[in-house]
Amino acid sequence: MIKLTINEKEFEVDAPAGMPLLWAIREQCGLTGTKFGCGIAQCGACTVHVDGQPIRSCITPATSVEGKNITTIEGISKDKNTLHVVQQAWIAEQTPQCGYCQSGQIMSAVALLNTNPAPSDEEIDAAMSGNICRCGMYGRIKSAIKRASESLQSSSTPEII
């Protein structure tokens, strides 16, 4: 048994050596917003934050993140009653199609904006190209990131994760 801190809550999980964090999050902690897409760090569907850094939970052993702060899509908004500015932008742009990739897309986008609140097109491409969207909503994802970037800059208290 190991202890994981996910979205500021403690979870006890039974993680055999080598078991990726993804499966602990989904199956043992019941947080199914984080998705399985490829299992080999190719698609980004499983992206979560560990101490604020985006990582691919499908290749990260659960045991390696004990004692660290893990954030999933369910915990990306600090305030339970409002969505994160990136999530709001996602709705405003009507970004998701099937939606399966979108948790991972949003996690990558939040991480990008946390380090670079006003990314250029090329910087967005570079940060987001690890996230596949088979529904091809790349244009909308990009627009949503720009929209979120604008609202981050216009608000006096940007939300930092």
């Binding site: 039974d14 055999p16 080598g18 078991m19 990726p20 499966w23 989904r26 199956e27 043992q28 019941g30 947080l31 199914t32 917003g33 984080t34 998705k35 399985f36 897409g37 490829c38 299992g39 080999i40 190719q42 698609c43 569907a45 999933t72 899509i73 369910e74 908004s77 969505l83 999530q87 996602w90 709705i91 009507q94 970004t95 998701p96 199609q97 099937c98 939606g99 399966y100 990739c101 979108q102 948790s103 949003i106 967005i124 491409d125 570079a126 987001m128 190209s129 690890g130 996230n131 596949i132 969207c133 088979r134 529904c135 091809g136 909503m137 790349y138 244009g139 909308r140 994802i141 990009k142």
Partner: protein
């Protein structure tokens, strides 16, 4: 009867329990008490099979289609609400239960009868016949870009209009005023002269007693207030906060996890596997030999997967175990040659005497094309949760075909159809793949062996290697041009014809045509892949017409337009894409522009691609301009999203998509060797809609077939190199390979 519980609401409607059943369905032969038992709660009025009204004045549309991102729940609810003059803020939807009452007879009718309308006096009979046929076929499919075309036009709109007419009638009778003086608006009916008002809910019980009109009047395009606007999609909020539930996310108490490995060589049986569990295999519950696959059930997917990976499994060898891609393609070539030599090609279309006219033409254009197998690679890998208990079976999955799922499980378990419950979930991509039931059958077979629910999850590798594939195909095309470059004859021989049947038609005016095909036996399983046969023929026809234009020394746009004089709709789409793309304007060095157009699923789409080919031969698609006439775009923003989606999906296939067979097995396994388009490779897409008022076309597929030829025609424009083999990545486009043109 168990209620269907999966509801989604815009507001937070609370329903009283215990249903009052009043009302008559529009559909002949419908037994409304059964339908009401499935969909209604107490106090609700079921106006017809597609809609009910609650005491709080909420209108609920019952949608018989699965949501896979196309926004179908929103769009179909809009069609119903608009005809009804419902208050959009009080409209909800309920996905129809997988029940035979909801067998999608309208869709089947659309497919079987095409888009043709029946003579009105026959409609009752025909609907009855179709309903019976469709129920027995277990047909409740989301596919064929058909939801809006058939369910929407012939189900939702009529249901909404009929309900409104019944409500008006009820108001007229209650107030003793002429029905013509009443006005329906925002879920309320008003009689201005006597200053009386009632909500739909207040009138619903009386309205449900009114005879259903057989031909309710539908609105004209000018009268639409909801259709043609982009309402926020119902399904989006849950897709940004992690709460959306896909098949993969189903959690049933007591559930365990399974994963599976089928023979890498299609169809081979398991020869040997040790199914005893060793003490080192922690958390493993069962190892199952399913005959053609081995499955492991464990406490978690990871334990199941690592155990399966470590198992020595021997599969029986079959005659296909040495088969390679080259063998398959050579086999197709041989099949075509033989059929040709023995005059055994099947006829697709014939007009005039194309063979004779080819002989005497001034210019002969000839080309051979080759296209690869393609996998679907839905974002969500295949999965299904099943629980077989007490003579019943419950299934949780995301399916384009929930009734087919029910039928498959019923057959496999040999239990009554009504003992199977399907809980359909959101689909993490369908593209045709989720109309199959192979994964469901496996899950049921696994669940049958244990007394707890099991979630079967395929690895991405299993998903890629045990898909049903878009066919690889070969094509030989010839055209004869006259002195002025106009085609007088056209022949086309291709491999494999599935559907839609018209996919190989040439949309251009060519007096003599001979189009033939051959269907050789194939060992690679085939399946519907977004746009189906249009995915190959869009490329073939639109590449070859470009070759013809080049041989005729004509501009590719002008050539197409001149050859489609009898199709003004087609010409209007060409004109729009020309205007919006800036066709003919200058481009930087090493850039090219290509055009392509196709009509599929009732929709005409033209695309112009702007492409850069570097001196090293690297292709970058910068911009795609898309013009589309789907009759009328009910939800313009959702429609645009579907065009974008279809373009990126087709682009991934065109650029790098290729499944190959070696030693009888698929060589690719994951996104590392079956690469798909990523953000840095995605072009900027601009979509322009024509609302021509023609009968509505589909949205999910028609932009896919057009992108590959638009891009390869642009590559030709940039480099003079004609791509006749897909994917593009197979072709050497370095500067040294280019001829000066």
């Amino acid at each position: 009867m168990k209620k269907w519980t999966r509801r989604a609401f815009i507001g937070a409607g609370v329903l009283a329990s215990g249903a009052v059943v009043i009302g008559i369905a529009i559909r002949p032969g419908n037994r409304s008490s059964k339908v009401a038992g499935l969909i209604a709660d107490k106090g609700e009025t079921v106006m017809n099979i597609w809609l009910k009204i609650s005491p709080d004045n909420t209108v609920t549309a019952i949608i018989p289609h699965a949501e896979m991102g196309q926004g179908v729940h929103t769009t179909l609810a809009m069609m119903l609400a608009d005809e009804m003059d419902a208050d959009w803020s009080k409209v909800k939807f309920l996905e129809a239960p997988a029940d035979k009452e909801y067998a999608n007879y309208i869709l089947a009718k659309g497919f079987i009868a095409g888009d043709k309308h029946f003579p009105k006096f026959l409609e009752g009979t025909i609907d009855g016949i179709f309903l019976t046929a469709v129920k027995s076929m277990n047909f409740q499919i989301t596919g064929g870009s058909a939801s809006v075309r058939f369910t929407g036009q012939q189900g939702m709109r009529i249901a909404g209009a009929a309900a409104k007419s019944m409500l008006l009638q009820a108001a007229a009778e209650t107030w003793k005023v002429p029905v013509e003086e009443l006005k329906a608006q925002n879920s309320t009916i008003t009689h201005a002269a006597s200053n009386q008002t009632a909500t739909f809910a207040e009138l619903a019980p009386a309205a449900a007693q009114v005879k259903t009109p057989s031909q309710p009047r539908l609105k004209t395009q000018e009268e639409f207030t909801i259709m043609g606007t982009s309402k926020p999609r119902f399904d989006i909020p849950a897709k940004v906060d992690g709460t959306a539930k896909f098949g993969m996310d189903v959690q049933v108490p007591g559930m365990k996890y399974a994963t599976i490995k089928a023979s890498p060589v299609f169809g081979a049986k398991v020869k040997s596997v040790d199914t005893t569990i060793s003490s080192s295999q922690k958390g493993v519950n069962k190892i199952l030999n399913l005959g053609n696959a081995v499955a492991v059930i464990a406490d978690g997917f990871w334990q199941a997967k690592t155990t399966l990976d470590g198992l020595p499994i021997e599969f029986e060898s079959t005659e296909n175990k040495e088969l390679s891609q080259v063998d398959i393609i050579n086999g197709y070539k041989k099949a075509m040659d033989t059929a040709l030599a023995e005059d055994e090609l099947d006829l697709h279309f014939k007009k005039g005497d194309a063979l004779a006219e080819l002989e005497s033409a001034d210019t002969l254009v000839e080309a051979e094309y080759e296209l690869p197998f393609l996998a679907h690679a839905t974002m969500e890998p295949m999965n299904c949760t099943a629980w077989v208990h007490e003579g019943k079976c419950e299934i949780w999955c995301g399916s384009q075909n929930p009734l087919g799922v029910k039928a498959a499980a019923s057959k496999l378990l040999d239990i009554d159809f009504d003992q199977i419950t399907v809980h359909n979930q959101l689909l993490g991509g369908g593209f045709g793949r989720r109309s199959e039931t192979d994964v469901i059958e496996q899950a049921v077979l696994i669940a049958k062996e244990v007394d707890f629910p099991v979630k079967l999850i395929w690895s991405r590798e299993e998903d890629t290697q045990h898909d049903v594939y878009r066919e690889a195909t070969l094509s030989r095309m010839k055209a004869g041009l006259d002195k002025s470059g106009n085609p007088v004859a056209y022949t086309h021989q291709f491999i494999f014809k599935h559907h839609p049947p018209e996919a190989a038609d040439v949309p251009y005016d060519i007096p003599n045509q001979l189009i033939q095909y051959s269907n050789p036996t194939t060992y690679v399983p085939w399946g519907n892949w977004r746009s189906v046969d249009h995915s190959t023929h869009g490329f073939l026809t639109e590449s070859f017409i470009d070759e013809m234009a080049f041989a005729a020394k004509k501009d590719p746009f002008t050539y197409r337009k001149n050859l489609s004089e009898n199709n003004p709709r087609f010409q209007a789409v060409l004109d729009l894409v020309k205007e919006k793309s800036g066709w003919g304007s200058a481009l930087p060095a090493n850039w090219g522009r290509g055009i392509a157009i196709a009509q599929s699923f009732g929709t005409i789409v033209a695309e112009v691609a702007e492409v850069e080919v570097s001196v090293e031969g690297k292709v970058k698609v910068h911009r795609v301009v898309c013009a589309v006439d789907a009759g009328f775009a009910i939800h313009p923003d959702g429609f645009i999203a579907q065009m974008e989606s279809g373009i990126i999906y087709g682009l991934a296939a065109a650029m790098t998509g290729e499944i190959t067979i070696e030693n009888g097995a698929v060589q690719q396994g994951n996104f590392n060797n079956y690469p798909v388009t990523r953000m840095d490779e995605a072009p900027k897409i601009e979509t322009h809609i024509i609302n021509s008022g023609n009968s509505p076309g589909g949205g999910g597929e028609p932009s896919t077939p057009v992108i590959a030829p638009a891009v390869t025609n642009a590559i030709f424009n940039a480099t003079g190199i004609r791509i006749r083999q897909l994917p593009i990545s197979k072709n050497d486009l370095r500067e040294s390979m280019r001829q000066t043109t």
